[in-house]
Every structure is written in structure tokens, then in C-alpha cells.
Amino acid sequence: MEALIKKRIKQVIKGDQDAFAEIVEIYSNGIYQLGFRMLGNRHEAEDIAQEAFIRAYVNIKSFNQDLKFSTWLYRIATNLCIDRIRKKKPDYYLDAEVSGTDGLTMYSQLASNSPLPEKELESLELQESVQKEILKLPEKYRSVIVLKYIEELSLNEISEILDLPLGTVKTRIHRGREALRQQLRYV
């Protein structure tokens, strides 16, 4: 996989734009997911994910090919998310209501004729409250928690992505975990 990515990157650097499509395909879910968990709605998640890939493409020559591409890409995406959170004024999107669900918006729920089975509803509610609590975390804890538990990246990778010492990453994960525990222990 890494070898394939490296090959495609070389092609992109030579100027073959089409080779970039495969890279986008491979990482699009992960990056989109990161955006969604960091920002809380699909619209912005898509926006930020697109921006991240475009930036990666434009700056591909500055990517050190000895490093892992995903780390570099996640760094771009995470930084974009953090910038967005810092600038963010509260705004709402129609499709953002049912967070934490896969492909379900208020619209799709309204359109559905049969009521949701109780179990599914419960899990929807749970998903929603988890997403809400993640979004309540201050941005510095939110990013480590999302990278660790949603993207399932190692502490070392997170430290590289955020350009922070490993110790700082651990401290932030501990704080984030503690905050989430306080909020989620009764769900």
C-alpha cells in the first residue's frame, strides 16, 4: 500500500494529475471522517477534506518522500480543521442535525415511513451524544481524541501529525479522555 502510494506520488510530482485520483480515493473516507468529527457537520467536513487534498496536490513537491504520506496528509487536514474551529462562528446546516450517523439526516428520517426499531434509535441517540461530547471538547483535546479513537492512529503518528512532543500528546489524550468520561459515563 505504501509502495503504491509512493509510486503514485512520484507520478503526480512528474505532473501526472490522474495519478492523484487514486490517492484521493484511498484516503477520502478517513479525511472526511476527521473533518466530520472535528467540525460536526457534513458540509464543512466535505469542504475541509476537499481543501486538504487540493493543498496536498499543490504542495506535493514539498512532501518528504521518506516519510509516511498519510501522516503528512493528516497534518494538512488537521491544521485546516483547527483553523476552521478557531475562526468558527456558530453556524448550522440543515443536514447537520443527526450527527454521528451514517448517511442519515433529518430529511432521510422524515422521509422514512416505518418508525425506527427501538434498538437502532437508541444507538442513534448514543451516536449523537458521543458526537456532541466530542464537539464540546476544546480543539486541542478534540484533535487528539479523534486521531486516536476515530482514526485509530498511534501516539507516535499523532505526535508527528500535530507536531507536538509525545508527552504533550499523551497529556492531551488523558485530559480528553477524562472529560469524555465525565460526560459519557451515564449514557
Partner: protein, 207 residues
Amino acid sequence: MKCDEEIVELMHEYLDDEIEPQNEMILRDHLKSCKECETIFNEFKKTIAVVKGTSRMQSPPNFTAKVMASLPKERKKVGMQRWLRNHPLIAAASLFLVLMTGSVFSTWNQEREFSVSKQENLVIQNDTVIVPEGEVVKGDVVVRNGVLKIEGEVQGDVTIINGEKYLASAGHVTGQIEEVNEVFDWIWYHMKRIAFEVVDIFNEGEE
């Protein structure tokens, strides 16, 4: 019982998969004896489980296409290269054509300078070549990028490339007079010359 911060620290180490075996023993022993810490520990584990359990998102349909469409345009050269890769036959043909025209044009451009074939009695004034009155020039006369005035006699062909010729009333040329002024004439002239050379080679061979 209010437990040590140290135990919570051990829980974090455990959750980060970085706990030393002896510390893990301490933690386990403590959790057995302390209900409060056990609850905290379980809450941690449950929190992590629900966070990890959030459903995995798929990027929207056409996401890749949208990204590709918003990339800055690639350099023409590469698009060309890929096109050539996909159309090898046309590629070979166009390569041939490009090289051919390239070489013809470069010869055409290189030979912008004034030049004239060497015959002793030709008079050269700046870019004008004169066959003086009463003189007989033997052999073919070739003038590039200049003017040829023929007042005397030329025993041979006259070729003027990208220039002009004035034939005085007294002037006389025994061979053919040829003027080449445009690129296509130039190509035609080259082709004819090559053809003649080939014929010459065969003729010499036969002799």
C-alpha cells in the same frame, strides 16, 4: 476513600498500552480492593468503546471526482505525454512529423546568413553578388539571403535562396534559374536535391 492521582495515571498508561508489567499488577490489585477506582476504570473503558463505536463515515459520492475537478490545471506537456502513451501509433506518426518539420525549419532558420558559392570571378558587395559584364562564371552559382546581378555569363545553374536576382540584358545563364523564397519552396528544393543526389549515387554506382 480518595485514591491517589497515581492510580488514575496508571489507568491512562494502561489505556495507552504503555503500562509496565509491575505497574499493571499494582493497578489490578488496587482495582480489586477499591470500588471507586474500579468504577472510574470501567467508565474509561466504556467511554473509549462508545467513541470507537461511532459509525464510520463514507465520503460523499463523487468526492474524488469533485477534488480532481478542482485541482489546478496540469501542465500541457504531461497531458500530451499521457495522450501519446494512449495513442502509440498516432504518437509515432506525430513524432516523425514533429522531427521532420523541426529539422527543416531549423535548417531554414540557420541559413539566414548571406552566403554564396565560391567562384573566383564573382564580385561581392555587401549582400549583393555580381557576375561582372564580360566575365564567364563556370559552375553552379548558389546565393543565400542575398541579391544576384547577372551582367555576364554563368555556365551552370543558378539558385537563389531567399533573395532576388536581376538578369541584365547582356547577362546569360546556360543552366536553369531557380528561386527559393518560401519555406515550402525550400522543402521542395531540398527534396529535389536529395532525389538528385540519390540518382547520382546510383549513376556513379553504375559507372
